[in-house]
Symmetry: C2
Subunit: 357 residues, 2 copies
DNA sequence: TTTGATAAAATACAAGTAACTTTGCACGTA
DNA sequence: TACGTGCAAAGTTACTTGTATTTTATCAAA
């Protein structure tokens, strides 16, 4: 099997074939004004016969336009899911640095809708050409922002949460419900009896979990367990993100009072809090733990055995690929596939070394 | 956080700064001849002070070179691991079609070393500029081929099998031993007792399995089982790739005579043979099956429940990324990371819909 | 005949490459 | 000493593909 690059038809060739200048062909191709009906017909006739594919890279080089990209993401710590997404985005910027690109990240407090709104204002005031949008809990606020972008005809990409009534250039994320069901399946395999006790640890803030993702993963997990392990007892333990000492107290009390609990799960990246607690405070208590995201603290727990399973989704790649999609769409004018549901990956001690992200 | 594209220093700027022409700067940058010591020093001084990064895309466009890529891969059926790798490679060709690229695939019989050798000759006779090399069982034959490439200073990439004494531009593949260990871990979780019986189904040809990958996965699996489930009994069943009727007979006899076997595994993509057999011939016999590669036949088995687990590695992405690496190295002259050990992924009914490749 | 508007060609540019041309110097011979 | 030859060195320019501005041409109306 062999592929030869067919010698491509250039604008210059089209100009010769239709007996006009390259400028006129360019005007026709881009639907610009100042083309006579006669010229348009001549060029159109040639275009209908051949299959013109422009050289997207030469085009981007020649246009010499500066593209301003902006992203709005949740605030995050250095070792976190969103830090990896952000690094992926920056890698995208670096990769396509040969084209004139600027990139600006705006961060909002995921527990504070007003913070999102004001960062949206800042973002729009920075006059970007395209926008990458992280998740926000409240649909209406998101809708409002997207409407403003649509009005300005600014293309945007969605990261993490998809909405069917929006029209983003692209979406990258995981199906949270299915991902929760998968975590249920793994839990089912891990538990040996059929009437075991499981604890769900939630990290709360402002009376709710940080994201819809987390919420939906729990929904999926519970669905699965209800159907496949109906006799399992599921405990709920609420922890508070900004209160380390309090977290310890809550965990200590919970594990003392619930000696039968041998399985624990979180639906965000904080399973390491439980793993570290058990390792230092109750080293004899054996609890099988499962959580999300291969952040450094979790990877450490997997390696030392204090956490058994992680479910991951390559946030760095998502950031990079999302940026690449936006670049392809906005700079190279190549149409992109809309939805990218990333794979739901199980990480254990045995395969975590090969989860490079 | 904000990144602005710094206004880049061009060759023209360097020429002005060092008081020579762009031609001379180009000669210095590319180490070409006909540059006086004085000019070289002037240009070098400027280069030392600034951080010149060429525009790789403009460079590739201007050079107007046709790059001939060639790949040598094992022969394969339409629904197979290697078919997906090949499609990934073709997608790479399509993606970078704006640069003048030709691509040629040579296929060899994995059970016949002579076939590999003669395809190597054909490949070298086609005078490629860069080569992508699939796995071959016999090290010495591979070594011989790579030596020939080195002598001609042809860059190459390795797919699937890595050798530390070669110097490829890049390598994409899975650590087969570790992947086998991971399959052991999953098997350990799946089995409920501690003295269960497991069958390894091997697909043979010419007295051996098709690849070192397959061999090594089995090694990793056995290592893991020896340590973690020493009481498990492991059966071996050899099937023959080109004998469908014979395969059926062997399976029928095996399952009849080994009523205690409740777990089965293959270390290549043919677990669907066992799944389909059990579903049609012995529908009441419940066997938990695990295999490799999300080929269509296996995906179907996962969905209908006749196979429980697949271990996968995104062959299409591997092909695409491998091609992209070669393109970046050869056309854009961007240095590439050498080793890419891809992640070892577990697929079940619950997450297989999101394994897009 | 001039003015104005539109159409279309010509051209400069993006960044870099490479073929082609010119310059400058050393050396040789008349 | 004058001139020619040869070659290294360095400058100029055309080229890659496509974009976008400027210039020129055309035609109708005043």
């Amino acid at each position: 099997m062999s592929i030869e690059t067919q010698s491509r038809i250039r604008i210059k060739d089209i100009a010769e074939m239709s007996g006009v200048s390259v400028g006129t062909v360019d005007r026709v191709l881009h639907g610009r004004t100042n083309v006579s009906k006669r010229s348009l017909e001549k060029v159109q006739k040639v275009l209908d016969e051949i299959n013109y594919v422009p050289n997207h890279y030469a085009s981007a080089l020649a246009s010499n336009k500066v593209h301003k990209f902006a992203a709005i993401l949740p605030m995050h710590e250095a070792d976190s899911y969103w830090a990896r997404v952000e690094k992926g985005l920056y890698e995208g910027v670096r990769k396509f640095n040969d084209f004139k690109i600027s990139f600006n990240v705006f961060q909002y407090d995921p527990f504070n809708d007003e913070s999102f709104k004001s960062e949206c204002d800042n973002l729009i005031n920075s006059e970007p050409d395209a926008v990458i949008i992280g998740p926000i809990f409240n649909y209406n606020i998101m809708k409002n922002f997207v409407d403003r972008l649509d009005k300005k005809e600014l293309p945007y990409a969605l990261l993490d949460s998809n909405w069917s009534d929006f029209s983003p250039i692209t979406f990258y994320g995981q199906d949270s419900i299915k991902s929760g069901e998968f975590s249920g399946r793994i839990m089912e395999m891990a538990i040996k009896g059929d009437a075991d006790e499981i604890a769900i640890f939630r990290v709360m803030g402002e009376g709710r979990v940080a994201s819809r993702q987390q919420m939906n993963r729990e929904v999926g997990f519970r669905n699965y367990m209800k159907e496949h392990c109906p006799k399992c007892k599921i405990h709920e333990v609420n922890l508070y993100a900004y209160d380390k000492a309090g977290t310890k107290e809550i965990l200590k009390e919970f594990f003392k009072e619930n000696a039968e609990v041998q399985y624990g799960v979180t639906f965000n990246s904080s399973i390491h809090l439980v793993g570290e607690f058990l390792q230092t405070e109750m080293p004899k208590r054996k609890v099988c733990l499962m959580g999300y995201d291969a952040v450094d603290a979790n990877v450490k727990c997997i390696k030392d055995g204090s956490v058994d399973f992680l479910i991951a989704q390559h946030p760095h790649d998502q950031g990079l690929n999302c940026f690449r999609s936006m670049f392809n769409a906005c700079v190279l004018h190549i149409k992109q596939k809309r939805d990218h549901y990333v794979s739901i990956e199980l990480l254990t001690k045995e395969n975590i070394d090969f989860y490079t992200d």
